[in-house]
Subunit: 247 residues, 2 copies
DNA sequence: AAATGAGTTTCATGGAGTGAAACAGCCATT
DNA sequence: AATGGCTGTTTCACTCCATGAAACTCATTT
C-alpha cells in the first residue's frame, strides 16, 4: 500500500509526540523518544519547538514534559456535536476498512432514528441506505441502542407507537433494552429488512451522554452471527474512540 | 535579544497554523497562508501533515479547514487548575521581565490567602516572601481582589474576623470591594507591610470563575503610585492570558 | 472564451533537520 | 572521592528533505 505522501516529516513526528500524551499525563524525554522511536536529540529539538509555541510545557518539579496551555485556547474552537458526521467520518472509514461492511451512524430524533452518516462496504453485495433516511425506533440494532440509553420517558413513548404497529410485549421490550445496556451493544438479524443483519454500539460523549449509535450492517448470509460477534470488540473500540471526540 | 534557537522551523510553522484557529472556526488555505505569511504550497504541505495526524480536518461542505478531533483526545489530559502554579509560571516570568518587579500568584483558602507561586524581581532591593506563605484576607491588594470576586458569604465571614482585628468599617469595606470589581484591579501601599506596595488583578478562568489573583509588588519608593498605574494594562493583559489557560 | 482565483502538484536548489557522539549534571553505588 | 549509570543538552558534518516559484487543474466569473 503506497501512501500518497506530500507531507512534512518533522511535523508528523512532532504530532506523534503530542499524541504520546493521549493517555499519559507526563513523560520524560527518553520515554517519549522510546515511544516514537526517534533519537533523543531529535525528540529534544522537536519538544523545544513545541514548547516554544506553548503546546508542551515542563513541570517545574518533576522536570517532565506535559501538554501545554495553548491546547486550551484551541479547544474552544473544536468541532461540536452537530459536526458529528464530519468528525467521525475518518473513524468510520477505518472501521469499514477493518471489517469490510457498511458502517452507519444514527441519532435519535423524536420517535425515529435518522442516519446522519454512512460509509458503504466496497464489497459487491452491499446494503444501500441513504444518509438522512429515517426509520422507526423500535426495530433494528441501532434502535435498540438508541433507546436503551435514552430516558425512560422516551422509551415509554416509543412503546406506545410501537404497540399499535407491531405486537411487542412491553416486558419483553424493556428486558431487551436492559440486556442491551448490560452487553453494551445490540444485534439484529432480518429485523428491519429481510436479508439484512446489523451490530450496533452506543457512542457515548465525553460527558457520558448518548450521542449516537454506530452500526455495522450487511447481508445476513455474509454477516453471520459468528462474524457479528467477532466484530464486536472492534466496534466497541471504535465507538469508544469516537465518543472521546465529542463534547 | 538573541534567542537560543535549537528548534525545528517547519514544526513552528505548523503550530502557527494551528494557532490561526484560536478565534476562528474555519479558514481556507489562502486565508491561512496570508495569516502566517507563507507561500500557498508550503501551507498546503503543512496542512496535509496536520490533517494526516487528525489535528486538522476539512469540512466536507465548505472545503475549508478546521481543527481536528485529535485535539479532543489530547484535551482530556490537559493541565488542571491544581497545576496552576506550573502552568502560569512562564507567563509570570514574562510579566516580571516586562515590569522588573516581583510577581506573585495567590489563591484564597478559607479566610486566608496563600501564595502558590512567585517569581522574584532580579533587582537589588526586592521583597522576599516564600511560596506557601499565608496571609490574612482583609489587607493587601491581592486580598481585595480575591475577596471582591468571591461569594458574599465569604466576604461576610472575613468581615467578621477582620472586625475584631482591625477597625474596618463594614460599609467602607464593601465599597472598596465594589470599587475593585469596577476597576478590575486593586492596589495597596504599605498596607500589609511597611515600605511595600502592590498591584493585583484577578485571574478569571475560562468559565469566568475567579481562579487566583496575580500581584506585582515591590518597595513603595520604587513602585510609586504612578508606576503602579502605568503597569496596570500589562498586568491586566497578563491576567487575561493566564485565565485562558485555566479550566 | 478569456480571465480570475481557488487548491494542488512538480521540481531544482541549498538550507535545514538529522542522529551519532560528546558533554554536562545528578544520584546511587563502590 | 571516585565510579558508573542515568538523565537532558549541545555540537557538528552530512545529506536529505522542506522549500517556494512556477506550472497545472478545475470552477466560477466577466
Amino acid at each position: 500500500m503506497e501512501e500518497g505522501k506530500l507531507t512534512v516529516r518533522s511535523v508528523e513526528r512532532a504530532m506523534d509526540i503530542l499524541l504520546c500524551f493521549v493517555d499519559v499525563k507526563e513523560l520524560s524525554l527518553t520515554e517519549i523518544a522510546n515511544k516514537v522511536v526517534l533519537h533523543k536529540s531529535t525528540v529534544h529539538r522537536l519538544l523545544a519547538s513545541l514548547e516554544g509555541k506553548g503546546f508542551i510545557l515542563r513541570d517545574g518539579a518533576t522536570e517532565k514534559y506535559r501538554l501545554g496551555f495553548r491546547l486550551w485556547e484551541l479547544s474552544a474552537n473544536l468541532v461540536q456535536s452537530d459536526d458529528m458526521g464530519v468528525v467521525l467520518l475518518p473513524e468510520m472509514e477505518r472501521l469499514r476498512d477493518q471489517i469490510g461492511e457498511t458502517v452507519s451512524l444514527y441519532v435519535r430524533d423524536g420517535n425515529e432514528r435518522v442516519r446522519i452518516q454512512a460509509v458503504q462496504s466496497n464489497q459487491a453485495i452491499r446494503r444501500v441506505a441513504p444518509v438522512g433516511a429515517r426509520m422507526p425506533l423500535y426495530v433494528g440494532a441501532s434502535s435498540k441502542v438508541l433507546l436503551a440509553y435514552a430516558d425512560e420517558a422516551i422509551q415509554e413513548s416509543v412503546l406506545l407507537t410501537a404497540d399499535g404497529a407491531v405486537g411487542v410485549d412491553r416486558d419483553v421490550f424493556l428486558q431487551m433494552l436492559s440486556e442491551t445496556r448490560k452487553l453494551g451493544f445490540a444485534t439484529s438479524i432480518e429485523e428491519r429488512e429481510p436479508g439484512a443483519a446489523a451490530v450496533s454500539a452506543p457512542i457515548l460523549s465525553r460527558a457520558g451522554k448518548l450521542a449516537a449509535s454506530l452500526a455495522v450492517s450487511g447481508p445476513s448470509n455474509r454477516l453471520t452471527p459468528e462474524k457479528m460477534l467477532a466484530h464486536v470488540p472492534q466496534i466497541l473500540e471504535a465507538a469508544r474512540r469516537m465518543g472521546t471526540m465529542l463534547r
